[in-house]
């Protein structure tokens, strides 16, 4: 185990990825603390407000504490366009640990303190606003709570199913195996994204957001288990011929016991590799689904449905800050991939290239 970590941290990419992921997960865990605005905040007058500029130097050229200006929305009668100008009359200084909206820190004690903010009356939008005048930065944090956890939750459903299904099919063999595998192959033969779209679309409307979150998780899991179970079955086929399994059988251990206690633990290194390598797939699937409007629904945030606004041309041309969720998805997926690759190289030296 010690050796594992030593090898892991020797890989610079993997270590960097682990740091990035830790930062991401800590931020979404402390989302309420870091976020400047609450989940339901919206200001119609600040629709598509650009990111706030933060200044360190006063107009007179002196160095000072960081400050920012508020935006005022203007309407140009000739081009019929909204635009924003800074209200230069009033400076708002940035503050560390100011009082903001009330929330429960770590879900336990009530507090109003936040990581950062501005003086009363000021607004700070690190990544601008969306169409409803909601702070993009805060929503990225709330959205990350969905996008980065849904994959893990789906794993908790799909991997046990895949393990047990593959274990039973491989151990029992014969007709049971054939029927079970044909069924798994049939699931794999349906283009997974098509199935995902359809399953998400037949969800009844009018669910609460947590119900929807749960059902989307289950749908993601229902699609992921088949391929995994096939590999497990293949491994079980070879493990079950080993002497210690025969020994267990001869002393009268039950089938369930042999599968659960003797055979499946042998697949653990493959399972760990498969888990790390399949999380990105779930993250991508959820964001794709939400991007199409079939996953997590407004007003709840997820990185996928935040990117939905980037489908409009004027948005991607003039409001590049709306693309930030895409970068975050990319960074998260990349980190998981790099970590997965490294874990595979360590646990499965055969696949490692000398």
């Amino acid at each position: 185990m010690k050796n594992f970590f030593k090898q892991f941290f020797k890989d610079k990419f993997a270590t960097a990825s682990l740091v990035v992921l830790l930062l991401l997960y800590i931020s979404i865990f402390l989302a309420n603390f870091i976020a400047v605005y609450p989940k339901n905040y919206s200001n119609r007058n600040l629709s598509y407000a650009p990111p706030s500029n933060i200044y360190f130097i006063t107009p007179e050229g002196k160095l000072t504490r960081p400050y920012t200006y508020n935006y005022i929305r203007k309407f140009d009668k000739d081009s019929l366009r909204m635009y924003f100008i800074q209200d230069r009359t009033q400076k708002y200084y940035l503050k560390l640990f100011p009082k903001g909206f009330e929330y429960k820190f770590l879900g336990i004690f009530k507090t109003k303190r936040h990581l950062f903010g501005v003086e009363k009356g000021g607004d700070i939008f690190l990544f601008g606003c969306d169409i409803n005048g909601r702070d993009n930065f805060s929503r990225l944090l709330y959205g990350g709570q969905v996008s980065l956890t849904i994959g893990f939750l789906a794993l908790f459903i799909s991997f046990p199913i895949g393990l047990i299904y593959g274990g039973i099919a491989g151990y029992l063999g014969g007709k049971t195996d054939m029927i079970m595998m044909r069924f798994a192959e049939a699931i794999m033969s349906i283009p997974s994204f098509y199935l995902l779209i359809i399953l998400a679309a037949i969800l009844p409307s009018g669910m609460t957001s947590s119900q929807r979150f749960l059902l989307i998780t289950i749908i993601l899991a229902l699609i992921g288990w088949a391929g995994f179970s096939r590999v497990v079955r293949g491994m079980v086929l070879s493990i079950k011929t080993q002497d210690y399994v025969k020994a267990a059988r001869s002393i009268g251990a039950s089938r369930a016991r042999i599968i659960l206690k003797h055979i499946l633990p042998q697949t653990s290194s493959y399972v760990i590799i498969a888990i790390t390598l399949s999380i990105p797939g779930y993250i991508l699937a959820e964001s794709g689904l939400s991007f199409l409007g079939l996953g997590i629904q407004q007003p709840d945030a997820s990185w996928g449905n935040m990117l939905k606004e980037a489908q409009e041309f004027t948005n991607i041309m003039y409001r590049p800050w709306l693309l930030t969720p895409g970068f975050l998805i990319f960074v998260a997926v990349l980190s998981f991939n790099l970590i997965g690759d490294t874990i595979r190289d360590i646990l499965d030296p055969k696949s490692q290239i000398k």
């Binding site: 349906i190 283009p191 779209i197 991508l284 794709g288 990117l307 041309m317 690759d341 000398k354």
Partner: protein
């Protein structure tokens, strides 16, 4: 076993899978709380007769199991019913499936043309700067969400004006000369192909690299070298052929991933493919269209797998089923 009996066996194995898929696609949609005729009823341009005909065609007055067999029988005969806007499902699917196949083949073609040499160069220059850069680039390529990359390319297309945005053909396509038509389609295919190729390229070049490294380490390559064969001959005649074989198996998986991945790319680029069709159908709860495109998509996937297995059998006679 001759190649023909192998092909026959492989096709026979596909049949039960198709049947199970048909069960899934039928019951999934029929048992969901969606009225299959709701959209038709709402559409004022659909006459009462069409509605009645559809009701009888689907056998909605009979039990579900009977409905399944009616649907199956109709499906095999090529009668897939009408869409909510009154078009024939089969015509629509034919056109869209062709477009998706066109896109997929163009992606697979470019992936192989670019990916294999890249993998080979990286393996031959193992641990060189080129190899390192390729590893980093392929990690990046694998991590970009297809729809996000597609959006970025759309920005590029819009700003540069070099590429058309959306669709497969220009509006006045029918007036073009044959050569101009081909060029026009290629022009429209470029961006979607670029997105999907980038993503599958990463996996393929990596696979090629590690396969070739494995093969280069094997005894028979060492032997070929030891007996004094020219290095280029060792690589081309002995190593490459064996390194490519596993990739042929991957072809089937690649095709499956493409069908799924293409759906989002098609959506962003407004490309008239099967993926976008199924999405539109789902949004309009167009039951006939959804079931038919799910079936055709699965059918294409299974056929792709069978084809890649046969191809493998042809390139590598040692393979046994």
């Amino acid at each position: 076993m001759s190649i023909w009996s192998y092909i026959l066996k492989r096709i026979l194995q596909g049949i039960p899978i198709i049947i199970i898929v048909s069960f899934i696609s039928f019951f999934l949609i029929r048992l969901s709380p969606v009225d299959p005729l709701a959209e038709l009823r709402m559409n004022p341009s659909i006459t009462k007769q069409t509605l009645e005909a559809e009701k009888i065609r689907l056998g909605l007055d009979k039990p579900v199991i009977v409905q399944y067999f009616i649907w199956g029988k109709n499906f095999i005969r090529g009668n897939m019913g009408t869409t909510v806007s009154g078009e024939k499902v089969s015509t629509k699917i034919k056109e869209r499936a062709f477009n998706t196949l066109l896109l997929s083949f163009s992606v697979i073609f470019w992936t192989w043309i670019i990916g294999i040499p890249l993998g080979v160069i990286a393996a031959l220059n193992y641990r060189s700067t080129f190899d390192r850069i390729l590893t980093v680039l392929s990690s990046i390529g694998m991590a970009i969400p297809s729809f996000f990359f597609a959006i970025l390319l759309l920005i590029f297309a819009q700003k540069s004006g070099l590429f058309p945005i959306g669709g497969l053909t220009c509006p006045n396509f029918s007036n073009f000369s044959p050569l101009h038509k081909v060029l026009d389609v290629a022009h429209h295919l470029f961006l979607p192909t670029l997105v999907l190729t980038t993503i599958s390229l990463a996996g393929l070049s990596r696979q090629m690299r590690s396969n070739l490294l494995d093969v280069l380490d094997s005894d028979y390559v060492k032997f070929a070298r030891a007996k004094g064969l020219a290095p280029s001959k060792v690589i081309i005649k002995h190593a490459l052929r064996n390194a490519i074989n596993p990739l042929v198996t991957l072809l089937g998986f690649e095709f499956a991933a493409l069908l799924s991945g293409a759906a989002l790319t098609e959506y962003v680029f407004q490309y008239p493919g099967l993926g976008r069709l199924i999405l539109e159908a789902v949004m309009k709860s167009d039951i006939n269209l959804v079931m038919a495109s799910l079936m055709i998509g699965s059918f294409m996937l299974i056929a792709g797998n069978i084809l890649s297995d046969i191809l493998l059998k042809l390139t590598d006679p040692r393979v046994r089923l």
